[in-house]
Each structure stands twice: as C-alpha cells, then as structure tokens.
Amino acid sequence: MSMTSRQVTGWTREEMAALVAADIPDGSYVNLGIGIPELVAQCVPAGVEIILQTENGLLGVGPEPAEGTADLELINAGKKPVTAIPGAAYFHHGDSFTMIRGGHIDICVLGAMQVSRRGDLANWSTGDPDAIPAVGGAMDLVAGVRKIFVITEHTTRKGEPKIVDECTYPLTGKRVVERIYTNLAVLEVTEEGLVVRKLAPGVTFGEVEEKTAAPLIDGQCNR
C-alpha cells in the first residue's frame, strides 16, 4: 500500500445533484442556477413533484425539448431551450421577481466560486479588473429565496479551496447559503460554523478538512 496522499474524487456531479434533489421536499418551488444545478431537475425521485421557476418568465419548466423541437422563445435563464409542463404559467420580469424577491420560491440551487464559513456566497465576479462584470439574477435570488443550496466541486481545478473563512471574491450575498453539496461532503452552515453532515464514500473527515480553508465541525447524520 502506498503511503502518499491518495486521489480523492468522491461523488460524481450526478450523485451530487441527486443528493440535492433528495433534500427538496415534495411540492417545493425551486429555481435552479446555470451549470451543475441544472442536473438536479433530472434527479427528482419518482413520486415527488417539484415546480421549477426560471427568472425569465416561466413557472413549470419541463425537460429539454426533443431533438428538432426547440423553440427560441421558450428558454431558461441560461438561454437554453426548455419545455413547459402542463399547468405552467408565463409572466413578465416584474412578476417573476415578485416571486423571487418576495420570498415565494422555496429553494434555489446555485453554483459557487467561494462560500464562507458564515454562508457568504461569491459566484458572480472574480473581481478581475479586466473582466466584464455581469450579475444577472444571482443577487436577487440569494436575497429573496427562502433556502439557498450551493452545489460545487469542493476545490477549484487548481485544487484551491472554495470553502473559505472569508470570501476574497466580490460577494453575491452575505450569510445566505444554508447547505453546500460538494463532491466530497454535504455541509450545513450553522450559527456554530460549518458542520459536515455527510461524507462521500471513502472520504474521511480529515481529507475534507484538508481541502477546506475554514474550520469544520464533524456532525455526520446517521443516515
């Protein structure tokens, strides 16, 4: 057996999405961010009905359109063609953000650049002076939606921690994230700090600590 640090991979993106989906109560209204969060839609357990909102004016987002049936006027916030379920509703941006900012959406699942131990989220800008700043609806979602779940790789491609003591990138919102689903663990943001609730198979608490730039509390649920 080699004693060098082994490669820790943990859950796949689909497994992460399935973990998020399993934590969404039946009947929830959910907004899914662009990227990995979109996978959550495909992982909703049988018998559970959740309603997806997209901020560009649709409640009741359905699956991707079948090949050749895409409608350029029926898209999601990522500007990809989608479909609408029976019982959907279309509305304008004013009404859409009444839903989001008025606290009517139960859960929003977002990607992250960084999350702090207190639940601060940075996911819209690297702060690079040469970058074109673009925020979209991210700040509205974190300010208005009841629960914010983050789904993200535990570290950047370069191996740097994304879960940190304080975000160094510009914030999207302060103290907004409730749970973080990474490839290594499921973490909850609590008053006491970041609690590890679940570890990916074969991953140890110590390994997660090593890849996290904030103190962690071991609070695994027996489930």
Binding site: I51, L59, M99
Partner: protein, 236 residues
Amino acid sequence: MIDKQVSSPHEAITSIHDGATVMIGGFGEAGSPIELIHALVDHGVGNLTVISNNTGSGRVGLAALIANGQVRKMICSYPRSANSMVFPELFRAGKIELELVPQGTLAERIRAGGAGIPAFYTATSVGTQLAEGKESRTFDGREYVLEHGLRADFALVKAEKADRYGNLIYNKTAGNFGPIMCTAAETAIVQVREVVEVGEIDPECVVTPGIFVSRVVTVASPEQESALVAAGSVYP
C-alpha cells in the same frame, strides 16, 4: 402530487388564528369571497386585522364578520358605501379601528408586500391629511411620501377557475385586489367556481401562478351579496 384542493370553506380557513391579519379580496361584492368569510364567521376567532377595500354591506359577508365582533381593525380605502351600516356604527362607537389608505396606495402597499419591498415613495396624498405624520422626500423637484409594504397571515380570495397547482384565472372586474393579495399573504386561500384539469388553463392567460396560492376550495354557485342584502339576510 401537488394538490391544493381542500373539501370545504371551513377546512380552508380553519388555521386562521386569533389576532391574524387577513386580506380579503373584492371591490364591493365583486370578487368578495363570501363563503370563505362566512366560514370565518362560523370559525369565530377574533382580534383580526382585515385589509379590504370596503367594509361590506348589510349583515352578510364582511359586514357579518365585523358585526360578529371579530375584527379589531380595518385597513381600507372606502369603508362606507350604500347599505353599509355595520362598520359605521361600530366606528362611531369607538369599537373598531380604521386605517384609511388611498386605494392606489393600498394596492401598491399590498403589491410591495408581495414583492419583498418594505417601503416605497408615492405622490399620492401629498399635501393632505392622509400624509400627516408620514416621512416625505423630494425627488426631481416633486414631493413624495414614504409608504410601507403590507403583508398578511392569510388572504381570502375569490377567483373563477383553478387547477390543482393553484393557478388562477378571474372573471372580469371581480379580480381587482385578489391577484396582489395572493402574493402578499403567507397563506392564500381561494374559492373558485370550478377546478379544472392541469393544462386546461392557457399558460399565457394565468393571472395568479400557483406559487402564490396555498389552498383552493370549490364553491360552484357562490351567494350574491347584493341579493342577500336585498332579501334582508343576516349571517349566521
């Protein structure tokens, strides 16, 4: 499966508690959810703050709720109208409180409450008694007053059709305050003439998307307030 239907007006309103703030839709009798209000009269909880454009007529509907002593305070724009005696009597006797709000400010305060806006500025009422004691501020040379968003624990609303998701369409001018009240209440309770299959309401024509609705109850043939008043009905 999501299904917001409940089987009776009584079941729909039974969680309304003493001291609750309740928005009630309707402009006069048009859009007034009379069966839900009557169930609330039967339910009997008191100390309610009711937000509604008017105060009812005769001794049925909202007027019956007020006559039954369940309402501590009314927030409305027009508390007197033809055949409205209950509120005026109690008000003159100092037995009910009134917060008088211009109709458009009332609508906007409800809409703001539903949209997460705690306060906004408006030109309505500037220079009048109703602006007294309110903060004012000048933007671009014009004076405005600060008004606050309104939220409620419950909304009682009448619509035309719903599906099991709670998507709603209304009938003509009976919509009035209903759609904005659904957005501003923790629990929006809606009586409809008919519940249709999911998919039957055109998604382009939904007025209240189901996200704003908690419970739906079918009242296929609602009572007409004016007919009851004309007949001298007293509820209960």
